[in-house]
């Protein structure tokens, strides 16, 4: 069932964008909307094909842009670049260890909103950017750093529950085979 994992990924992304519009206590705590899209993209980049990652980053960014004051499409490039780089360089990166997942989530959690702000500033928009942005980026980095291992755990658990498992080696061993006839 190879369709199940991408479907779950898109479902969780859809819910994550919706919860970004609420979660008021967390929003007040970190000083910014609680976006975990970068952490989801990190997970997708390590476990799915480039086609799925590309589609996910474009759709997720358009969903987020559609509910925000940003011009449609301005959020696509930062998410796509993070997904593309991690997917094409995954053989060079640690991903099994929890601390590696934390730092990957942290870095993407800082890079994606910072790049988005840069794109908005290059255009004619006037986003709310100032010294407080550093605090917001730090908050988003920590949130994504903590969310990334949790997303790995969640999706690995879901895949383990719903997908067929690889068959183990079994009891058969060649050196215990009974050979008949003269040798």
């Amino acid at each position: 069932m190879t369709w199940l994992s991408p479907t779950l990924l898109f479902l969780v992304t859809w819910l994550a964008v919706f919860f970004q519009t609420g979660m008021l206590p967390l929003r007040v705590l970190i000083g910014a909307p609680p976006s975990i899209l970068p952490a989801i993209v990190v997970y997708a980049a390590f476990t799915h094909s480039l086609a799925v990652v590309s589609f996910l980053t474009i759709v997720a960014a358009l969903w987020a842009d559609s509910l925000s004051g940003s011009r449609l499409g301005t959020g696509v490039a930062p998410l796509f670049v993070v997904g593309f780089l991690l997917n094409t360089r995954q053989h060079l990166l640690l991903r099994e260890q929890r601390y590696a997942q934390f730092w990957l989530g942290f870095a993407s959690g800082v890079a994606v909103p910072a790049a988005h702000a840069g794109i908005l500033l290059l255009g004619s928009s006037e986003p709310a950017v100032g010294w407080f942005t550093l605090r917001q980026l730090l908050g988003l980095g920590l949130l994504n750093g903590l969310a990334c291992p949790a997303i790995f755990l969640l999706f690995d658990g879901l895949r383990g529950t719903f997908e067929y498992q690889l068959a183990g080696p079994g009891p058969y061993t060649a050196n215990r085979e009974m050979k008949r006839g003269r040798h």
Binding site: T21, G22, A51, W63, S68, G69, H116, P127, A128, Q136
Partner: protein
Amino acid sequence: MFKRSHYIALGACALVLLVLLNLPAPASARLKLAIGGVFLPLFGLSTTSDSFVDQASYQLLPRQTLISELRRLEGENAQLQLLSAQANDAIAENNRLRTQLGLLPRGPWKHRPARIVGRDPSTWWRTLLIDYGSRHGASLNQPVLTADGLVGRIAVVGHSHSQVALIGDSACGVAVLIAETRDQGVIKGPQSTVESGIVELSTFQHSPQILAGHTVVTSGDGGIFPKGLPVGRIIDTRPANAGLFTTARIRLGANLNRLEEVWVLQSNP
């Protein structure tokens, strides 16, 4: 360095960006509303669950509490009716005098309630989503307020939901005046503070007589907000641009972090 599939992915993304960022603004806004439509079931579910929780909490309230609350509201209602009668009399007198001066009389404000269903998912803007769209009579630039003060204006109108640009966002400039000194100014985003309850006002000239505690109301200039809507109170002031202007920080009357319901003004007098 890259494989063929990598170039295809890069090309597809570049194509999507090229198309989206070159769309005319009205087409982009329509597409935005269409894409945002995928969240309507979740917003509906959220609104239904909120009202269900409200109903459940009403069922749990003791009868004695409800009766005492009813008596308090009856007393408050009687006082408000008295104030309303006085206000109506003053409005009628004001309109008579305006007519004698050759000015157009002011009509009453019509307003509709709306519930907040979401906030901006992006870090860079101050916007809200309300469950009040074109099918309820929403139109662009309608002022949004609470009993405590101005909240913002409708920036994007959808069929069943609208996006409200809050005071302090770059999409919501407000022309204001200080009630005590009659100095005029403008509140325009983006703001230099993360605290959504504080915004900055720039006056059109240096005004040393503006003091902390003075009341800020809309001036009616600009054609979006009617005159006299309460905005907030001055916290402090400082001279700007070598003393040519005055910049003042304002604490907004409406608490933008705790909004649940708002009023949308339907007709500008």
